[in-house]
Amino acid sequence: MTLSDQNKPAIEVSHLVKTFAGVTAVNDVSFTVEKGEIIGFLGPNGAGKSTTMRMLTGFMPATSGSISICGYPLATQSEEIKRRIGYMPENNPLPEDMRISEYLYYRGRLKEVPRSKLGSRIDEVLEVCDLKRVRHRIIGQLSKGYRQRVGIAEAILAEPPVIIMDEPTIGLDPHQIIIVRDLIASLRGRMTVIISSHILPEIEMTCDRVLIINQGRVVAQGTPAALRKEILGHVRYEMIVSGNFTLLSQVIATVDTGIKCKVQEDVDSEGFKSVILTTDKDNEMGEVLLKALINAHYRVRSLNRQRPTLEDVFLAATRRSWDVIDTK
């Protein structure tokens, strides 16, 4: 490893633009990925995720902007970059008429894995991807789940420092998704991983950071928790209580003056109503709320803090994509 390998962030993208015959697919995208991070790429269809990934691999040239991977600029040293990435394209194209082990051997040779290490490395990735039993099967006859895992095995085969996977979990059953998720999580710290996905809980569980992209622009980036706060901006509590509803807001104001209280009108036979509380503060206030309500002789049936899913964040972020927060 050279000096530039060690000190630079794994991926640096600045002001990346790609236009296809007048259509701007990627418009001024900038982001940085540190070594060992797992980044999730989110965006609606046609947002420019795949295009960005293709440009990162050097397969497709950018219209303008710069990319550097492990400190190597893509424009001048794409050969060095190609040695440092493992890429699994969208739809995971594989040759139909090869056996899995043959395919991995061929790919390993192309990726310059030394012949002496290749055999044991293939065994290793077959083991990791749970493909040992089917290693002699022909790829064209495999089911989608197996093919997907062959693609992942191929991407990690040469132990590249950067792995780029375009929708690795598409078409997998829940059991296989968990396997793939664990697999990606096991790479944390050793390899830098960029994955794109439509399955938002997937991204949330595996990724350190999320990058939401819409219409070719980065509309939000950060950890899932930070994004929730940034995009949705408030915390919601939902509770079901019964008691004096006219005094309720005063009781709640004793806990924190910033809490807004909204009583739903639907009342059940025992006089319970559901109440929505919203606050800008992020700290957990369930316990104090409960204490205050019980001291004021309210009957509380439930109180829970609503956890907005990444889905809510995603929808909110892509909806307000006109005001771009292209933070670096």
Partner: protein, 253 residues
Amino acid sequence: MKHFFTILSHEIRMLLVNPATYVAAVIFLSLMGFVFTDILETFSRAAQDMSPADIFFKQFYLPVLFIVPLLTMKCLAEERRLGTMETLLTTPVTTTEVVLGKYGAAYSLYLSLWAATGGFFWILKAFAGDSRLLDSGPMIGGYLFVAISGLLFIAIGVLASAVCRTQAVAGILCFAMLFALIFGGSYLGAATWLRGDVMHPVKSAIDYAQVLQHYEDFTRGVVDFRQLLFYFSSTVLALLFSILAVEAKLLHN
């Protein structure tokens, strides 16, 4: 060129495990066998003033027009259609290595198919035992011509595959280009409108590229350096265009 041999051996291996290769080989050998039997029947009826090898290799365009598109149409068009071009070119492999590797594999298969026709002459020698039928001059000239012209024919097939997305279109394009190359020369060479003084440079260029004439020279034992140069330079040109076509498709897809 580090990966050239990796790709070459992979491609040859893929050709050898592909049933289509054997189908093509069987069709090729039965067609050529039929031609050869026909020639021998003509010889058995009356003496001819040419050797069987001469007449046999004169039919070289028959297999060329059908086998070359079959062998080459798949090589780049299929990779592009399946999307495996993307995985291939994101490894430290250059486009040049990919194109040359595939070209090399198709060419070696083409050569081995022709080499198999050597069996016809061996059978003739073993069973006829008539030395007059086995004139080694036209035979060596014929095989040499097949090997050298094959360089260009296969390169044209690779070029057709490089510019097309579907195999079928690549095959037809290759057929059309080979047809124009082999027969276009003699057609234009005979055209009267090219006889004028103004068209003289065009005419001499066409005369220089007469594939059928080259064949005649080779079997008569004339290996002209200009003809070799014609095949080698046009092969290089076709391969260069193939490499550029693959790269251009990446820029504009």
